[in-house]
């Protein structure tokens, strides 16, 4: 492609500006970036399900919640360090994803959408009602430890910034590779045409479940980071609206496109903060901006593009 180099330059410049952000932004804006980072992880994980596999999931906050509550519970009850809880809550959320998806994943588009909305709501109601005495009801769980990394306790927004964005970077790195692998292609195929994918020899049912599992696991890990950052979690942080927000990020940013999803996160999480000057009209501007962005970029800001195989020339016999 003609602008491959230009793109690389753009990405590195962006990464550099971002990595040095805590040096010139005040703690409020750094914390906004932390919020953006958390949602970026959530949106990237939903992107696997919604953008790559094409499964309409509008209940992603449920897996976010499973991860957050798992970590919070293990940390407050058994004193498990919060970063140790990270893989555990990833696994628990991944299993939750599998269990949820198993009976319903074959439903078509909008029917799957409402079922996932339902799952999210059922979970939220369970959390509020203190199911099995684990979740603390409407109060949630409080007193969650701050993460400790190599003996260093992470407290300030500037410190969280590197933890969260470090995790974002790892996520992008792994997901980008995954996208360009046999697994990633399989998701493309089943999104494009389920029958043809199955007819080409792809176990579509299994890949749909895998997509849910990976997406849910990552959302669960984002939940752990969230729990440790807020140090208190309660059901209202995992409402239907949160699922909608993550859904919007993926579609508006450009479903299936990692850079697009990141840009979408900056806009959807950043704009309401940028609009604070409008006081109580800020969400009005936000709604308007959302419609306008969609109208002017109907396929998302950075739409999905077919893959290019750089090494193709060398492959030719």
């Amino acid at each position: 492609m003609m602008n491959e180099k230009y793109k690389l330059f753009l990405y590195s410049a962006f990464a550099l500006i971002l990595a040095t952000a805590p040096l010139y932004l005040n703690s409020y804006w750094v914390d906004v970036l932390n919020s953006v980072g958390l949602y970026a992880i959530l949106a990237l994980s939903l992107n696997i399900i919604l953008g790559d596999a094409g499964l309409y999931n509008m209940g992603h906050a449920a897996f976010f919640a499973v991860g957050a509550y798992t970590a919070a519970y293990l940390n407050t009850q058994f004193g498990l360090p919060i970063l140790w809880a990270l893989p555990v809550s990833g696994i628990v959320a991944g299993i939750a994803g599998l269990l949820v998806a198993r009976p319903v994943v074959h439903l078509r588009g909008d029917y799957l959408l409402i079922v996932t909305v339902g799952v999210g709501e059922i979970l939220r109601i369970a959390l509020i009602n203190d199911v099995f005495g684990l979740t603390g009801g409407p109060n949630g769980i409080f007193g969650i430890d701050r993460p400790v990394l190599f003996g260093f306790k992470i407290r300030k927004p500037q410190e969280f910034f590197y933890l969260i964005w470090g995790f974002v970077a790892v996520t992008i790195f792994l997901f980008y590779r995954l996208k360009n692998s046999r697994f990633g292609r399989a998701l493309d195929y089943l999104r494009e045409d389920m029958t043809a994918a199955e007819g080409s020899g792809i176990d579509t049912g299994r890949y749909q479940l895998y997509a849910f599992m990976v997406g849910a696991a990552w959302a669960g890990m984002a939940g752990t980071l969230y729990a440790s950052k807020m140090s208190i979690i309660s059901p209202e942080s995992f409402s239907f609206w949160e699922s909608v927000l993550i859904f919007i990020i993926v579609i508006l940013g450009g479903s299936g496109n990692i850079a697009g999803v990141l840009l979408g996160t900056f806009l959807i999480i950043g704009l309401p903060e940028a609009f604070r000057g409008f006081a109580n009209a800020r969400m009005w501007f936000f709604g308007l901006a959302m419609m306008l962005m969609m109208i002017f970029r109907t396929e998302g800001i950075l739409p999905h593009r077919p893959r290019v195989f750089k090494s193709l020339d060398r492959q030719r016999p």
Binding site: F183, R185, A196, G199, D203
Partner: protein, 252 residues
């Protein structure tokens, strides 16, 4: 033993019996044509073989094993690949990736290998790419790897479907109206391609309305009408069968 053996296959949709007690065999290395008027149940037979539909009665044996209860992707990995009557390519995806879809079931790298790009995964990807490029060249689509599938001409899309099917290294290739929408030149090239496929030792089962192609390419024909088999045999014999002539020209 025949490669594919259809036994008393029956499929009903509500009150309509689309396929009615059909039996026939496909010998290894043969090119068999499944013909009949529109609505005779040919594509339904294909869909039954490839596991898109479940038969109500009867059995399908592939190399001696019953495949009637298997799911489509499993059947593909056993060695039956197909093309579709209405082209079903991954339209927004590149030509090469369409072929890679067929290669999928011969590859092993999974989720973790994909994320970590293990040496095994890299090697497998390299080999798969090479294989798929070769298949594209084989069907005559060399140099079009990076194009998006829906930008290809109709005839080339049919060829791409064949390349995708070939990438799964099938023993049996099922072609549903491969010449549909092709012009004369392209059809001619297709006949050549089918010959080349036979040369590779593939067994082919095809549906086709273009009788000249059928007569030239096939060694054995099975004729369906209203879901029933009405004739079977070498093209010359079938062509002169009064029941076949009646079916095609109409009774009145």
């Amino acid at each position: 033993m025949s490669l594919l053996s259809i036994r008393n296959l029956t499929k009903r949709f509500g009150g309509l019996t689309a396929v009615n007690k059909v039996s026939f065999d496909v010998e290894e290395g043969a090119i068999v044509g499944l013909i009949g008027p529109n609505g005779a149940g040919k594509t339904t037979v294909f869909n039954l073989i490839t596991g898109n539909y479940r038969p109500d009665e009867g059995d399908i044996l592939f190399a001696g094993t019953s495949i009637k209860a298997l799911r489509t992707h499993k059947i593909v990995s056993m060695g039956i690949a197909r093309t579709f009557q209405t082209i079903r390519l991954f339209q927004k995806v590149s030509v090469l990736e369409n072929v890679l879809a067929g290669r999928h079931c011969r590859m092993k790298a999974g989720l973790v290998a994909g994320m970590l790009k293990t040496p095994f995964e890299k090697k497998e990807e390299r080999e798969a790419l090479r294989y798929c490029v070769e298949e594209l060249e084989f069907v005559g689509l060399k140099g079009q790897e990076s194009q998006v599938a829906d930008s290809l001409s109709y005839g080339n899309q049919r060829l791409l479907e064949i390349a995708r099917a070939l990438a799964s290294e099938p023993k049996l290739l099922i072609l549903d109206e491969p010449a549909g929408g092709m012009n004369e030149q392209e059809t001619e090239a297709l006949v050549g391609l089918i010959g080349k496929l036979k040369g590779r030792g593939l067994t082919i089962l095809l549906i086709e309305h273009d009788m000249s192609l059928v007569m030239r390419a096939c060694e054995h024909l099975v004729v369906l009408e209203y879901g029933c088999k009405i004739a079977e045999g070498p093209p010359e014999t079938v062509k002169n069968d009064p029941k076949v002539i009646e079916a095609y020209l109409g009774a009145d």
